[in-house]
Symmetry: D2
Subunit: 375 residues, 4 copies
């Protein structure tokens, strides 16, 4: 295996997940490239140094531009809040380094499009972090749909609802402020994942109507109560290019739902259902079986399913959140090794961001919006 | 107990359910009135006579007007297709007989309003057949919400989806034709039940946007392929007067969902979830418990829950569809015995019909519609 | 339909269930015989009269022998505690009346055998009340096994566990006393149902080893604390004549399990699983499907399944506890109408009682017991 | 962090799992010791070299004794079939190296006791690989029991059933032969895990009665059909020192169950239930809540639960099989760093092996066996 020096920007939630993934991806999958932990950057030099020591990074810096320009860094992972993504991506492109960027790609479609066009023009490998759709079960869902086994898709009921801000005592953060987060609250934070799933499982969206609103209007900030500037929850109706329709809910206040990323896809010959809280199972309904033997079937993931065997040999032994990131890293390394674009690229991230933007506009103007209206 | 002669119009699906309910309601609940099966009417005299013999009705007729005027009939149950409801109800009012009418009350809000105003003016007991919301579990849901235990309701995700017309080989019927059914397909057939649940659990709806469409455009009729005239599936977004929002799906082609009447109600202090396919359980989430001990709790129905003990003494022994109709009959008899209106009256049926009409308009005009726009 | 006068002894839990069933069985199934509620007997004349009035019985008595001899009574249902069964059954035989007797048939196999031989000798229709195995789902389980679809049965894991005596504050009753109940506590009260299921689904038992014990050693009686005389919980290992093995648990103190009558039957080609708390579903695993599409399938009961359509036309609309009793009554009436023995007869009840007795002996003597040892 | 050179024997199923765990354990938990992958041994030098290259081990060998004596190896992980464990352990002790040994510790209690006494006498850190009980959910189960929240334990229903040998076409292997595996088949392969859980959750076992048998009597070996020498499935009854009772099933032919490691623990104040196929949830029943609000509560694992936060920050995001091994490695490193024995040590492995041996004897002699009978 050839080694590849990785630079990581961000040492929060996702920074740790990527660190763990980088350490096992080669042994897990026998990748052509073996990543090394070349350098890590966070907001401060001390923080970065501390994380480097704890997580085994060879170098660290409080200035992400330094990391990008570090010759030991041959590819970059961006795991910082959305507001910072554009500048970082552009610097990587200037330094001609492949980029993996956490979702959402940009803070709005214009940003995302600029990044996408720049990186495509530069011909650099790129990827955006939609990890949930990469579980063995969701990969199987896509395979089954592609196989025609549930026929033509006619409907999807989807949601990504969690309750991480349900408690009114939770403070304001970058997530609740437009200047640091995005105009879209739950819509910008959780919805991109499930929008991505809809695109992947059903196909392009033609139009939508959305409704989103704040529930908890103020939260405690460093200087007292602060207005929550973006939506806590909402839902939208979707119309797809292939004629299917659907609904999609998103929330950060859905009491009791911890990882409520779910979908039920109905086709002319059957249906599929999935709930991320039980990520090792996919439910399949085959409408062509004899009527007295029909029912949703709980398929528990195992070595016969996509990307499972590399993790373990036992059916039902189970994979978790971190293994999704390992799969992501495998693909990123492969895109670099082969020079071939691997889904989901920045362009896929841009398509998701257009739908989020369309939903914001639909909500503001209280009307159906076609995706074509949004650049 | 005083006896009360009942007349039943319709001997189909619901005609049988009401017959069974009438035979046990008094012994089950010890009602003040003991119903007798006075007369049954269907489309033909022979059919009516046959059902009378099989089901134990004292008299029968092929002319429902005769039944309404029969002095032995002291109250009427209408279990015929929607197109026939108005005339039957009006005749009952003229004959001054209390009426129980299956859902949907009318084929449109104008019809429903006319019936409602006429029967209220006549001062006659009246009820409409929203049975699902009467299970012990759904009654408990309402109690819990009313108690404040889940706080203020902020969102509802609801659906009534089945697959009874999923198979394209199924023929056309009154359900797929406007002249005999209604303009609303799944929207008119299954959605009223779950719209009713939303009103009951969350409160009045202020506005909505709906999307509905035909999937299977033709079905075999008696004279060859026939156009399906009303929607097979769809979904809507709801805004409630109290600020809560929600989504609601309806379908007659939801492969694999047999009795997919479900709701999840989120409040500021917790949440509730229910699935009619598992009608003996209600799921409750209490967000005020210690964080490491929080989770949806599956409450299995038993004697401690509403209207359960009369059916049996064992927790988890379970009630089914027919017991919902028994509860309905108990309330209808009580409304007659006491002269007090018992939910859901015709007016409640009218409110549901307004929402269905608003959804039809929203779908046709591709825009948000306020319920106030619909008479 | 020909009418048949029924006499019911007992107006408790099961007395009510049988009353409700008798009132609807003819309309539900179109039975050849239409039962009439001829006479009801309880411990006291007043109690009987009151129940007769409330439940619509034509006659009543405080002396069950009078009921048995009443010429209007053409068949008898016994729904009283086990200690009373033998005398009542013997009197019915003397009066040449068909008998339906609640489980357990006798208080020990000797009693049960005496009743069985007497009624078989008299040539009278007879049946014992194992209702759980009559749900559409459990009937389907038997059909699937019989069809060979899961191959040869190799194992069963079964239980009937409830928590009706979990609370130590619950008082002593006939259930906790040997003189009025039986030597077997949970073993005599709940285990017979699931033993019956094992016999029905797997076949004859050859030997067993059991362990049962009291958990709550005293409970409050009318004169202060009283010793609990029979087991609260236990479990046994089973060996079947066909070589299969299994385990069976029983409890009246299984906190949280309300109707924990469950089984998982494994065969050489697949498996089945059932939980009575979700009585409208049967889970089927087909080991012959492609490995990547295997999984337990949740079959929701509907008109395509045994004895469902008579109750209602909608898949997943659901039946409950009381409908099991209706199915039982349908079979009892049919056994009378045709003179043909219908499962489960007294002999089936006797076979269950032998297994309970073998379990008692196994527990007392701490050893494996073959069923052949028990008369 | 101080580095610690690890030697791994075995590069199969568990060899890979341990490799992945060693690579992330320090970054995940911030352990005092940072393990390095010093040397790997398998049956052949080529195989070992190949795995070393693929998995990033610094050195490799076809002779495990060489690995044990390698000074760069400061601690050893044994992940080879049970027949090899004793010699390897004894050599490690001679070389004074801490040992982690996969389950089952020995092939019989005599072997296990010898290893246990030797390593205790040498004063070396030691651990045995019972990983399942280390999920956040099973750790929480133990915490809840210890807290007294479900009262005194009165019963456990437990199983470890899988279907990895259900297909009769699967060949013979070390698992089906006594000379290479153990006398216990499923009893030796899967049962140790769930026996360990019973000990951990309920306490010491006093006596048991077991039944185990072969279902598929021959399987294809390299030279044609070969007799299967140990059990395919079975079950046992358990009596615990604290008076509780239980049942425990084990199988390698349980069609449809993929990771059927489950338990339900009943106490005097509540109950717990767990199913490894849904390893991120624990079900808790609190019998002290108001009767109308009681039910099993599905607690989804998150940062508030044991050993979760180190893996990820999101509730319900989920951990999988491999994370159990990471937790194991964390504890093994800590035992080495601190010199303190950490559960489960060899002695715990020995206690499990005694119960397996008691079950074998009970099965052979068809009688109850007290654990005290087994050295
Ligand atoms: N794919 C997924 O499942 C998830 C994705 N995310 C995405 O990952 C990104 C990061 O989110 P979290 O890890 O939750 O955030 P976090 O708040 O936990 O961590 C952010 C990190 O970025 C660093 N950072 C911020 N500004 C910086 C700058 N100018 N220079 C260098 N470092 C800087 C901070 O020091 C911190 O280490 C976001 O885009 C978010 O949407 C977050 C959670 C889950
Ligand atoms: N609450 C619930 O769960 C359900 C309610 N319904 C409602 O019940 C009503 C009846 O539906 P189904 O029972 O499914 O219909 P069905 O088609 O099974 O039976 C209709 C019955 O009405 C009789 N009928 C029709 N026109 C008549 C006339 N002019 N005079 C006398 N009898 C006439 C027919 O002879 C037949 O007996 C509808 O309003 C439907 O929406 C239906 C199914 C479930
Ligand atoms: N199949 C099932 O699911 C169930 C079956 N059972 C069985 O049903 C039988 C009755 O149990 P429950 O209804 O729970 O009892 P219960 O205690 O609720 O009622 C017993 C009834 O028998 C009457 N009775 C007692 N001795 C009598 C006598 N000498 N003469 C006339 N009447 C007498 C009492 O007055 C009372 O009405 C038992 O054999 C029990 O095992 C009970 C519950 C469920
Ligand atoms: N904790 C758990 O969840 C599991 C534990 N196990 C246990 O792990 C152990 C290994 O099982 P698997 O990994 O499934 O076996 P496996 O058959 O997949 O791999 C065995 C490995 O041991 C090596 N080996 C065998 N004899 C050797 C020798 N004399 N010298 C050097 N290397 C030798 C083989 O080359 C092979 O790499 C067993 O004790 C088993 O019971 C197995 C699976 C799961």
């Amino acid at each position: 295996m050839r080694e590849l020096g990785i630079g990581l920007i961000g040492a929060g939630y996702m920074g740790k997940a990527h660190t763990l993934a980088l350490r096992t991806v080669d042994a897990t999958f026998g990748t052509a490239l073996r990543p090394t932990c070349a350098s890590i950057a966070t907001s401060t030099a001390e923080g970065a140094a501390e994380h480097a020591a704890r997580w085994g990074w060879q170098d660290s810096t409080g200035d992400w531009r330094e990391l990008v320009d570090n010759p030991a860094v041959q590819a970059v992972i961006i795991a910082t809040p959305p507001r910072t993504h554009r500048d970082m991506v552009m610097a990587c492109i200037a330094a001609r380094k492949p980029v993996f960027c956490e979702k959402p790609l940009g803070c709005n479609p214009a940003e995302s499009l600029a990044m996408t066009e720049a990186i495509e023009h530069a011909g650099l490998p790129n990827m955006v972090g939609f990890n949930y759709i990469r579980t063995p079960a969701s990969q199987l869902a896509r395979q089954i749909i592609a196989s025609g086994d549930i026929g033509d898709v006619i409907q999807i009921t989807a949601e990504h609802v969690e309750d991480y801000l349900h408690d009114p005592a939770l403070p304001a953060s970058w997530r609740t402020r437009i200047a640091t987060g995005t105009e879209a609250g739950a819509l910008g934070d959780v919805a991109p994942h499930i929008v991505n799933a809809c695109l992947r499982l059903v196909g392009p969206v033609e139009s939508l109507v959305a409704d989103a609103h704040v529930v908890q209007s103020t939260r405690l900030g460093p200087n007292g109560p602060e207005t929550v500037e973006n939506d806590d929850q909402g839902q939208m109706l979707l119309r797809f290019a292939n004629g299917a329709s659907g609904s999609l809910s998103f929330s950060r206040m859905a009491a009791g739902r911890k990882m409520g990323y779910t979908y039920r896809v109905t086709g002319t010959r059957g249906a599929l259902a999935f709930d991320q809280e039980d990520q090792n199972a996919l439910w399949l309904y085959d409408a062509t079986r004899p009527v007295e033997r029909r029912g949703f079937q709980k398929i528990v993931m195992g070595p016969a399913h996509p990307d499972y065997l590399a993790f373990n040999q036992g059916v039902g032994h189970g994979t978790g959140y971190n293994e999704q990131i390992v799969i992501e890293m495998r693909d990123f390394l492969e895109a670099i090794a082969t020079g071939k674009a691997i889904w989901p690229t920045f362009r896929d991230g841009y398509e998701v961001d257009r739908i989020i933007a369309a939903a914001l506009r639909s909500n503001a103007e209280r009307r159906w919006v076609t995706i074509g209206e949004v650049a």
